[in-house]
Symmetry: none
Amino acid sequence: MDLSAEIIAIGSELLTPQFKDTNSLYLTEELNAIGIPVVMKTVVGDDERYLEHAIRGSLERTPILITMGGLGPTEDDVTRKVIARVLQRQLVLNDEILAKLQRRFKARGVEMPANNARQALVLTGSDILENNHGTAPGLWVAAGKNHVILLPGPPSELRPMFEKSCLPRLREMAGSIALARCVFRTACLPESTLDARIAPIYTKYKNPETTILAKPGQVDIRLTARGKNREEAERLLKELGDQIDQELEEYIFARTEQSLEEIVGLFLVMKNATIATAESCTGGLIAERLTSVPGSSRYFLSGIICYSNESKMELAGIPPLLLEMQGAVSPEVARGLAEGIRARAGTTIGVGVTGIAGPGGGSEAKPVGTVHIAVATPLGTEHRQSFFPGDREKIRWWASQVALDMVRRELMKM
Amino acid sequence: MDLSAEIIAIGSELLTPQFKDTNSLYLTEELNAIGIPVVMKTVVGDDERYLEHAIRGSLERTPILITMGGLGPTEDDVTRKVIARVLQRQLVLNDEILAKLQRRFKARGVEMPANNARQALVLTGSDILENNHGTAPGLWVAAGKNHVILLPGPPSELRPMFEKSCLPRLREMAGSIALARCVFRTACLPESTLDARIAPIYTKYKNPETTILAKPGQVDIRLTARGKNREEAERLLKELGDQIDQELEEYIFARTEQSLEEIVGLFLVMKNATIATAESCTGGLIAERLTSVPGSSRYFLSGIICYSNESKMELAGIPPLLLEMQGAVSPEVARGLAEGIRARAGTTIGVGVTGIAGPGGGSEAKPVGTVHIAVATPLGTEHRQSFFPGDREKIRWWASQVALDMVRRELMKM
């Protein structure tokens, strides 16, 4: 078995629609950082049968198991009991823990409830992990090739305990594994098209590991390389990374975890350029995304949302005749919006969008999803016509994504 | 086996420290509502060995297994393959799905990449769950006592598919429990204030069950009553629901699953009114939310985003002297924006927002989070000053929420 870990979170409250898991994200980050991947995460209620099944499954497949929760003083805190049964260990009362529990309650001026003594039960042959932030101590049980680590559920207890009592030992076990990671964020390339281009490259490598995550209008490619040391991991990462970089080049908008609007903002600052928007079907989404970036007032000057034909004429100066002849959804009106707002706001760049976001308003000639996007710059005006699939939300998002990506490409030319 | 369900989420990106699970919470809520508990949740990467182990474990313990994800067109989408192996079924190409996929791509004017054909593979003896929001169809495989339901990962595809193709069948399997549910959506009341008002009421009842979900600027209260039949469930629901309704009255903007912008849209149509927006710190968010509603072109005429002082003068007609005397973030400028855009666009209602979304730009007198919101109507102009906590995103969201709620309240007077 390679060194890898599983996490089992225990507690019926974790199976409600309200529960948001943060412990496992914290543990994943800490484990990954020392080269230990998390291969499975499980959430199970305070139910002995299901918990036992989950634990047995994990022990078969994975060397490190971290459980969180179920160490409290009540009847339904079953973790210790079930793990003792699975590992065929005894549960014995630890006098030192018991004394510490009693002192803790005494310091608060209360008698220790009898059922808290349960928290002083430990598995024979296990190491005790001190809890300085709560009553339940943790346990580390080494059993053959398996290491089972029992942590308390509350983040305020789990985190300091893991950091102080588990990480040093895990780091030693992980030895000299080093990890290197990178990300490529691409815009406006469908997942399947992208994969067809890079699968022949990345499938040749088991290390680095490649994961692909698609969102509307954006696909992220993540590489994680392992090596005996930092240099080796980075060399392996670079070998595959460079090939993917070369294959996708112009579609990659970021090699960091930044959003498209952040990247556009960086380019605008770098080129000392300003921007204004004139939106119809996107209804302010492009302006909203641009201004969601801290400091965007440096480059975003103004925007208009011209839903009605009157506002297209009045706010963006589209000639009435043009609207009548070409219709509001046309290349000419998109160009007019981009050039009109650019002139009016006196910016380096103007963006114009007009289209049919649906569900109504489509026709045979101009079906729902038809969007015209134009970007006006000192170098001229670029126009693109697109047909986006999906519902209103998706069409609007795709349109904003293509518009921002067009702005990015224009800025690269400047 | 009692009727209960497990959920397995599949995808290596789900095992990163960044991943936040929402699908399983949605499914848990829907399943609980028809009386089916979720007994275990598992997250596993795109790894055939671990996935197979997780699926085999689940089939042994639990009658219903729902998988999410891993149905994409790429090499690492392994769900279909692994489940076919575990259930000893063949994977066969379904001509109907293939034709539909090809039509979908053709409609967008692109050739279908060869690897998308993978999404037309189905397990023998399975039922196909149509996907109207993406390419990957779902599958329902009945195998002895087990039901395995394969759903796609993206929430925008998973939710409608589950609702349309899975819930009715599951409800039938769950049998004779009758459920009645309602929701109260409130705006602009902090969760703790709201809970202090209604906890004395709802804690008296175990049935209906009350769940409270807080989002920025919005708190949803959900009641679920169970009864032997529909009448009993509805009677129990009404008893508690009426008390909560009475307590929160004016803060409740919807008694349905509709958003605040949808409710504002309904009111605008009902009152035959139109609206226009002039936004500074919200950067188009209010217009974006209003226009996200299908059919909003009926009442939303135009909007402006005036980030620079020049655009506040030029687009909204704010007098230069006012900006100089009061500063851009002031009650007077908010009023000027609301009244200016209303006059300019010729709408029933004008909305004006100016504030400091941060992280920069704050001062002692006007700290980050200061926002002035004004709503101009035929009855006059309402103004509200707020200090919102949190980061840029949260401040902008709260501002849009308060603005829309003010519009709702003004429309109720008209």
